[in-house]
Symmetry: C2
């Protein structure tokens, strides 16, 4: 019979190689959402978040993610996406669009840029035009729309589930 | 070549049968986190959230989830968990514990109660003692600890991925 005892400050499994997932966020309304995304990236061992405009982090929310994740702020996202595609990354938006693919059955490639839209307007036409694919989280009830940081975290989880990585230290779970 | 056009106010797929997942939350520090959990439940078609103590919802965050999700507040969780187990539900905690199972490879059963701990102290001994299983989201970097609403949302997503349900209306995605 299993015995469940809380493990505080459990040593995380360390990844033998850095993850190839990059997050790219359109200009967000909320520094809180952006900070939550950076915290989630830190936890999952994702090293790079690209943001736009007046982006900044609340360290109280992003926690150590603010130090361990490279947080690059650019004036505009499309030129950065062009560059990343030229480097061999697949550009995947997270949105409800025509020709989107259900995240439940979405197969990521390892070199992926996950592109997150603004809380109000989502991914706009200039960004949608850059994408290779769009993943959509299927909604089954009201309010039909997840919080932006929640949906980003779910897609990050799904990527990591598909590419759990090889661990090289710490406790395995 | 795919064409991605944003679909606003997309009609969600309706589930032919209600989901059998129930959320049960220990007394939480933050009404904001609880409200985010209720919003996520609403979006995924989960109908019942059990909370404890001085729980209340911010409707601005929970959105329509506050109306579509049954939100039951109890004085204490253990007696409710006993009742649900007697009704045939498997009690699954979300925590870092001894004998926990990695969520990446966790197989849910349909009748599941997902038990969420307090932001600071997690699932305490009185709740851990009630559980059949513990699922753990593997951490690969700092801050080694996801926000409580984020981790709950990820586990809800994983359950729904395994039990997508049969849809009976709306657009399929």
């Amino acid at each position: 019979m299993p015995h469940f005892a809380h493990i505080r400050h459990k040593t995380p499994s360390l990844l033998a190689a850095p993850r190839e997932l990059i997050l790219a966020c359109a200009p967000m309304r909320s520094h809180i959402n952006l900070s939550h995304i950076v915290r989630t990236c830190g936890c999952f061992g994702i090293r790079r978040v690209i943001a736009c405009g007046a982006a900044k982090l609340h360290e109280r929310i992003a926690r150590d993610g603010a130090e361990t994740v490279d947080f690059d702020v650019h004036r505009s996202l499309p030129p950065v996406l062009d560059r990343l595609r030229a480097e061999g990354f697949q550009l995947v938006g997270l949105e409800q669009t025509t020709d989107s693919e259900n995240l439940f059955s979405f197969s990521f490639v390892s070199k992926t840029v996950l592109v997150i839209g603004n809380e109000r307007v989502g991914l706009e036409a200039d960004l949608l035009a850059k994408l290779d694919r769009v993943a959509e989280i299927p909604m089954a009830g009201l309010p039909h729309s997840l919080n932006a940081a929640t949906s980003a975290s779910i897609a990050i989880y799904e990527y990591c589930r598909q590419f759990p990585g090889v661990t090289c230290g710490g406790e395995s779970s």
